[in-house]
């Protein structure tokens, strides 16, 4: 046993080193585009391609950001994206926690039917309902408005969030509400002051996943804001910018940075909830 321990330990260390080398190479490939983008956003138009691989700009051209922010409208797009995302997250938490609560804790006529339909929405591809959603938004008079985009994003496909809440509320002890109700609190009061605070971790996961999905969404904001450029989101604005301005590469890089930085920063702070939420999907 003792003799075997020597070579085993050595080969284990060799494996570790090999693993780190492979991972470092992979990570370099994964991070390089972001580093290149960050440096391109600060380069001059001439420098951006002439030195290709060089990541350090000769001088910091902050005017790229000024152009993207002002002339190209990415300041407005950032505001639109932020409003739509915050609105979507708030609406999704509101409606999925309410329905998850009653689905998880009470038996009532139609419960199985409601759950069946909600689970069914899992399998509907986005493209399939696209034209009717545009038609519906137009009929409501909300085409080319931030509210129209927010409602569409908050309204379609949140089965996972509802089921997360349902599962959580289901396993809470029964006695929790009873005392409060004997004290004369209303049902909604109990939900707001006792149940929702208890579900904090679920709310955090739902908020993070919804935030990322809403911020990164493209198809719905694209088709719902065709007629009104000032209501575009960052992703949609990027497409328009590329379409009309194929020469301003540093400006585009700055615009891409404005779009990506907030969501990447957000992710760094809430990594844990995101990873848990995604990992939960495969474990269950």
């Amino acid at each position: 046993m003792r003799r075997a321990a020597g070579p085993t330990r050595f080969s284990r260390r060799a494996w570790t080193v090999l693993g780190i080398v492979i991972l470092t190479l992979i990570c370099a490939l994964w991070i390089y585009p972001f580093l290149w983008l960050a440096s391109a956003s600060l380069k001059s138009p001439l420098e951006i391609f002439s030195k290709g691989l060089n990541l350090v700009p000769d001088a910091l051209n902050w005017q790229n950001y000024q152009r993207a922010w002002g002339t190209a409208g990415f300041g407005i797009y950032l505001l639109n994206t932020a409003l739509i995302t915050v609105g979507t997250v708030a609406l999704v938490i509101f409606h999925t926690s309410l329905s998850g609560y009653v689905l998880g804790r009470y038996d009532f006529i139609g419960r199985r039917f409601v759950i069946g339909v909600i689970v069914g929405t899992f399998v509907i591809p986005i493209g399939m309902g696209l034209i009717p959603v545009v038609d519906l938004t137009q009929r409501m008079g909300l085409l080319n408005s931030r509210i129209g985009v927010t409602l569409a994003l908050a309204g379609s496909g949140h089965a996972a969030a509802i089921l997360l809440y349902t599962g959580f509320f289901r396993q809470l002890p029964k006695e929790l509400e009873e005392a409060a109700i004997i004290d004369g609190a209303g049902v909604f009061e109990v939900f707001r002051t006792i149940m929702l605070p208890l579900a904090g971790p679920v709310t955090a996961t739902v908020a993070v996943l919804t935030f990322l999905a809403a911020w990164n969404s493209f198809l719905l904001p694209l088709v719902l804001t065709f007629g009104s450029p000032d209501k575009r989101t960052l992703a949609v604005g990027m497409l328009a910018f590329v379409g009309t301005n194929e020469t301003d590469w540093p400006g585009m890089a700055a615009a891409a940075m404005i779009a990506l930085l907030p969501v990447i920063t957000f992710f760094f702070f809430v990594q844990r909830y995101f990873v848990e939420g995604v990992a939960g999907a495969v474990k269950s």
Binding site: A4, T16, G19, I20, I26, W30, I31, F34, W36, G52, L53, H95, L98, S99, V102, Y106, D107, F108, I109, V117, T121, V123, I124, P125, I126, G127, M128, G129, L130, I131, P132, V133, D135, L136, L151, A152, G155, G157, I162, L212, N216, F218, L219, V223, A235, M238, L239, V242, M252, A253, A259, L260, V263, I264, F267, F274, A279, G280, A281, V282
Partner: protein, 310 residues
């Protein structure tokens, strides 16, 4: 108010519904959303698919299954179907296998594994539509860094137009899609790997099993059920490539990377004379395939769960 444990249905139906009215009030926001943005769109989509409708007038002319018959003979629709199929068949196994490879390395208790995981996760949290544009810079045939490196190291003599060559654009898109989403699949695999008891490896090590033997005899068989689930999840996700492909290639050059979603978008929104009915028929006929796939997913999951609880 009633819970699961109490015997239901002792009271008459009307009284029960009235007594539970607050429950339906709690459900109202969700049911309204689901009805408006999921159920109605599917029903309306079926109706729309039987219309000849440009969208300029309030409603179209009913033409029955004419749109479907036309789709059947439309070379561009078949081309988009073929591209979607090629995309799934190549990109899904690549993403699943590469993510497993990385997960296995990360799982062997390496230092900095959190840093590595976060790095691979960066593209996952980044907007797909923006990454499409960024990749157009990076792969630019004359001045992009990828071509510069390949030229400088002597791997190629001529710059390669990765996104502008008919035979290449779809495959480039597949590589970029795998790059973009690898981090999610990595998390799936790491969650799956954590379900394997560590003492199995210890026992095998004492028996003198090498790394490959341990993978073949322990890891691989125990991961089998997860392999099926992860592959099916990834297959369904692979139908959702619109954002990346529209900004990356816009389906081009010459429709060589046009998938179904881009075909639908082009017919419904990007054409001079939109064909909403025709686009609906294309979306619906493809959607039926996806729903079939998702149902298969559910059946397999249920089957696996049943086998495990036996």
């Amino acid at each position: 108010m009633r819970r699961f444990s109490e015997a239901p249905a002792a009271r008459p139906l009307g009284k029960r519904l009235w007594g539970d009215r607050w429950i339906y009030l709690f459900l109202l926001p969700t049911t309204t959303f689901v009805a408006a943005y999921s159920v109605w769109p599917v029903l309306a989509g079926i109706y729309f698919s039987m219309l000849d409708w440009s969208g300029f007038e309030a409603s179209g002319q009913f033409v029955g299954f004419e749109n479907y018959r036309e789709l059947w003979n439309d070379n561009l629709y078949r081309n988009a179907l073929k591209n979607t199929f090629v995309f799934m068949v190549l990109a899904v196994p690549l993403r699943v296998a590469l993510a497993l490879f990385v997960a296995l390395i990360l799982n062997s208790a390496l230092p900095f594994s959190r840093v590595f995981r976060t790095a691979i996760f960066l593209p996952v949290v980044s907007t797909a539509a923006i990454l499409g544009v960024v990749m157009r810079f990076i792969l630019d045939p004359t001045r992009g860094p990828v071509n510069l490196v390949l030229l400088q190291t002597g791997l190629i003599d001529q710059p390669v137009n990765f996104l502008g060559t008919t035979g290449l654009a779809l495959y480039t898109a597949i590589v970029i899609w795998v790059w973009k989403w690898l981090g999610i699949t990595l998390i799936y695999w790491m969650a799956a790997l954590q379900t394997i008891p560590q003492d199995l490896y210890e026992a095998a090590r004492i028996d003198g099993a090498g790394a490959w033997a341990r993978f073949r005899d322990i890891t691989f068989p125990l991961l089998m059920p997860f392999t099926i689930i992860i592959t099916l999840i990834t297959l369904v996700e692979a139908t959702n490539v619109f954002d990346l492909l529209l900004t990356l290639t816009n389906g081009g050059p010459f429709y060589s990377s046009e998938v179904i979603d881009i075909f639908v978008y082009r017919q419904a929104f990007a054409a001079n004379v939109p064909r909403l009915g025709y686009a609906s028929a294309a979306a619906l006929s493809f959607g039926v395939c996806i729903i079939g796939l998702a149902l298969l997913n559910m059946i397999v999951r249920r089957g696996l769960r049943g086998r495990r609880s036996e």
